[in-house]
């Protein structure tokens, strides 16, 4: 459904002439004089009661109505009408927001990037602190330019923090806050931009995606080089200074292990911590409440017992790569159903019932095993499976981001979605030139000037024909 917009709306003031034209038509209608020799008969006719309702006496002739319609179309043509895409009802545009770690790095402040995003003139606005803020602000401005109302903007994030959606003018505040415990680069999955290449989608990121969209619009904040730590290996912190790497010595990060865990788990944790360069601390469950803002890597804790009794059976690691003989109980899942929890493997008792006995989230792994033993003599599969479990839950070191996140990966970009899927530069790959749409203006609709002008001309012609026939 399209709506009508006028580039020269001041021309519509000429519509005020219509009443005057109608009045003139009525006046001219009264003044039409015809000679007749039957005036006496007409006078006699007037003396007889009317057979038609008198309300029809002062109506304009059809030709005058047609002429007025021609005038309306002519004036509308002068106002340069264009057909605009009407605001859609419901979530019409999906704004796919990249919330990878690099999006929380400082935003570019150069005028060129801001001009590309159409934010240069917004001097009164506070400068965006992060790339995410800058990109989201530009995306919101694109929505406003395209006439997408706030209730039709669906913000979507498919990052390492999980998929979440929000409908409104801007994403919720917590999206802009970098996770205080850091992010796990190993568990990070890229935002699935390619699966959302539709004309009702906007890709919001700091750099151009690997594949240029055919239909979706895109807003890139631009990504300049941000030096900083890129890795920590034990007590060594590797810092990229923009040119090369510098090593510095820092305190090791800590793996805390609940003393109540089965012996095989505690022994494996010791080996894994040594291999990863973490310091290991065995603590009582109460000691896990102590907050380690910078040194915390992972906590291995015993889960609270659920309602059922402990069951003996076989534990299957994910994808059934390894099996344990284990005894455990159902974790009280309902106690903390917050986001980020992920069950890991399953315990099947001889009767085929399945229990969740292991779950993890970032920086935290819970076990409800009472006993645990590999079913084979080869301990390697056991170690590999548990190693993957812990690697997927470990918290990244604060401020440590992979080099790929810190490197400069592109300029700012600002492109509206393409209905036809034809976009200049699309074939040029991810570095293709931006679409030549001025950031300061709304996308121009199809001009209807010629249609309105033709309609006015045809109506005027019809009016003349009708007038010539006395209608």
């Amino acid at each position: 459904m399209n709506s009508l917009a006028f580039q020269h709306p001041w021309a519509l003031w000429a519509l005020c002439l219509l009443p005057a034209v109608a009045w003139l038509a009525l006046r001219g209608r009264r003044g039409a004089v015809h000679a007749t020799g039957t005036l006496g008969l007409w006078r006699r006719t007037l003396e007889t009661p009317r057979t038609e309702p008198p309300r029809a006496r002062r109506t304009l002739p059809l030709s005058a109505w047609v002429a007025l319609a021609a005038l309306v179309f002519g004036i509308a043509a002068l106002a340069h009408p264009t057909a605009q895409a009407a605001p859609r009802v419901g979530p019409a545009w999906t704004l796919v927001v990249d919330r990878s770690p690099s999006m929380y790095l400082p935003a570019p402040t150069d005028e060129r990037s801001l001009a590309t995003l159409g934010l240069a003139s917004a001097g009164a606005e506070p400068r965006a602190a992060t790339r995410l803020e800058l990109a989201v602000r530009a995306a919101a401005r694109m929505c406003e330019s395209a006439g997408i109302p706030p209730e039709s903007r669906r913000w979507r994030s498919d990052g390492p923090l999980g998929k979440s959606e929000f409908v409104g003018p801007l994403p919720p505040e917590d999206w802009f806050t970098a996770p205080t415990r850091g992010l796990d680069p190993l568990g990070a999955s890229p935002t699935p931009f390619e699966s959302l290449d539709r004309s009702d989608c906007i890709w919001v990121s700091d750099c151009e995606p690997r594949t240029a969209p055919l239909f979706a619009g895109r807003v890139c904040s631009g990504a300049r080089t941000v030096p900083g730590p890129v890795a920590q290996d034990g007590a060594t912190l590797r810092v990229w200074n923009g040119v090369g790497l510098e090593d510095s010595t820092v305190e090791r990060r800590v793996l805390r292990v609940d003393r109540g865990l089965p012996e095989p788990l505690r022994r494996f944790a010791a080996v894994w911590a040594e291999a990863r360069g973490f310091a290991r601390e065995e603590v009582e469950p109460e000691g896990l409440d102590a907050f380690l803002p910078d040194r915390h890597a992972l906590d291995l804790v015993g889960a609270e017992r659920g309602s059922g009794p402990a069951q003996a059976g076989t534990f299957f690691a994910p994808e059934d790569r390894v099996r344990f003989s284990a005894t455990g109980f159902e974790i009280a899942l309902a106690r903390e159903p917050g986001p980020g929890w992920e069950p890991w493997g399953r315990l099947e008792d001889p009767e085929g019932r399945r229990l969740t006995v292991v779950r993890r989230r970032l920086g935290w792994v819970e076990f409800s095993f009472e006993s645990l033993a590999p079913r084979t003599q080869d301990a390697a599969p056991f170690a590999v499976a548990l190693g993957e479990l812990l690697d997927g839950a470990v918290v990244a070191a604060p401020e440590v981001l992979p080099w790929s996140e810190r490197a400069a990966v592109g300029e700012a970009c600002f492109e509206f979605p393409s209905e036809a899927g034809i976009r200049p530069g699309a074939s040029a790959g991810p570095r293709g030139g931006p679409r030549p749409v001025p950031p300061g203006g709304a996308p121009r609709g199809q001009s209807l000037v010629s249609w309105f002008a033709w309609a006015a001309a045809l109506l005027a012609l019809g009016g003349l024909l009708l007038a010539s026939r006395g209608r």
Binding site: H34, A35, T36, G37, L39, W42, L46, R50, A56, G470
Partner: protein, 305 residues
Amino acid sequence: MDSRRAHRPSELAPRAGHFPPGFEARVARLVHEAAARRRTPREDQAGAAPRLQGAGGEFAGRRRYRPGDDLRAFDWDLYARGQGEHVRITSPESGERWCVVVDSSASMGVGARTGAHGGRPKLELAVQLAYGLCALGLSWGHQVSLAAGERWLSLSSAADLPLARAALAELPWAGRAELAPWFGRPALARVRRWILVGDLLDLEPRLIAGMAAARRRIDAVAVLAGIEWAPLEHCGGAVKWLDPESLEELEVHVDPGRARDYATALGQHLEHWRSALARTRGMLLLARADDDFEPHLARYARTCP
């Protein structure tokens, strides 16, 4: 400035009527056919035309011969004595006196509007019919008088038709209709058949009743313009009607309902005329200004006794 004059339609400008090319030939052919139909078998055997003017009447005098005169009335005695070419004039006995009266009032100009509604004025068809009626009466042996405008002509033979044509060709539409005084002229007291050609809108049918007492037959041809027959075909909505003779104006909203009322009134008016004429054994022909004269003239010739 007179506002009424400002709105005056172009058709009110006086203009002389005219005859189309070949008009006389068309009239002659039609009159010849009508005369042939009226000729009895006995008359055909005799090879005579007793209805010719003067045939069988009392000698009334002589006049100069004009091309087209009946050679049977040629006075050979005077020619033999070298006194010129003359024809004998006799008072008719088998024939009767006709008088064709043409209404040339200003209302007969209706229909001549220029532009989109352009057409023929009523007077144009009226003068053509008048000429044809004169020719028809002469061919049947009647003495015909033609009254048009301010003057009248006495036509005694087909040779006088050019005079009638000249009088009619220059006849303008102007003024008011003054048809009634013709009936009281002493020179036309012996007229037995009056034929009125006009719009019949200025005469009251009551007048015809008085004529009936004098044993006069009155026929009439009502010529009306298209806008008078069917006003809704030419205009609609608010219309200001103007009477060309009195220059009176009347604003009327012409819509289908009003047009029906008008058609009813017009029908009643013409029906009054028809009944009034019937009391004189006369008939009423209806014509539209844009019509050809021939169908109407042929109809009159067919139905006229």
